[in-house]
Symmetry: C2
Amino acid sequence: MTDARERPAGTYPVTAVSEDDGLIQPMCAIFRRFLKRQGLKFTTERAFILDAVLSKQGVFEADELLAEMKDAEHRVSKATIYRTLKHLLEAKIIKEVLIDSSRAHYQLAFGRKATGHLVCMETNQIIEFPTEELNALMERVCKEHGYDPLSHRFVIYGSSPAAKATEQAEVGDEG
Amino acid sequence: MTDARERPAGTYPVTAVSEDDGLIQPMCAIFRRFLKRQGLKFTTERAFILDAVLSKQGVFEADELLAEMKDAEHRVSKATIYRTLKHLLEAKIIKEVLIDSSRAHYQLAFGRKATGHLVCMETNQIIEFPTEELNALMERVCKEHGYDPLSHRFVIYGSSPAAKATEQAEVGDEG
DNA sequence: CTTGCTGCAAAAGTTTTGCACACGT
DNA sequence: ACGTGTGCAAAACTTTTGCAGCAAG
């Protein structure tokens, strides 16, 4: 049951491993340059989406951005959010994270060391942890098969202490 | 661009790490027992789906099964395939594999050591490799956060030798 | 016979796309 | 002005579900 589908109302409680929020501002310039290079425009909507994305401490999804944008003074449409996410991926400002197969999850791609994700199957809490040590494994496996390594993802599924506590309580109730 | 979407017509060429196909037959009995325990029935359709699943050498998806079932003498509906996949997951005969976020991917859960997946971003080829060494990391991370470990997934993205060759050819064509 | 199962078609959820109009450069 | 971008609504795709008839135990 590799399933984190029933997520608690749009939010992922996340313990991030990010280190420097000082890198956030230059990102705007970086995105701008990226767009110019591609003959694309830096629109108000893209600025707003970038801003929302940069404020994320951990894993997020399109849905979440959409909800935030809906309330904000700047309403941005679903279509624009999806289109902009693609550009942010290409610009390597965000990267995809594999949490479950029903929706796409993203995370900032900069200012953080390689991380894996520890997912609680019950509460959907996601904890990040560093995974530098996996680079060696990636290199080795790629070399063995003649591949050029690009990136890797490591996800652990388990039960959080909170989930176990809840379980206990439920058993008490039922029994 | 963590995207393996444009997959070559329903097939994943896979180099598996499976070891004993001799375990396959008992699976039928195991599934039967599992169903009985749950008050469920072992129907012709379920038998056929189990059979198709057991013949898989590597990663597969619902879509693929559906296509196979369409041609076979036993036509099985989409709905039944999805419903049966859920039971097979619960019975721990198959497990979910995270390859990309657009579709669910599965793999037999037995008769194989823990494996990771090396995915070629261009050709979508998937190579399995053993990942026993990651168990220690899983245990350690879980202990650090008070989690009970359940399972883990490790995916490497890269470019296969074949993809690089194709690229070369294309550059030659264009230039 | 009783209960669960199947197929169909419709629904649901996420992501993409066509189009007319609006906006950066 | 030109070429892109945006919003909207519809389409595409994967997965789920309701229902009426069907089959396993």
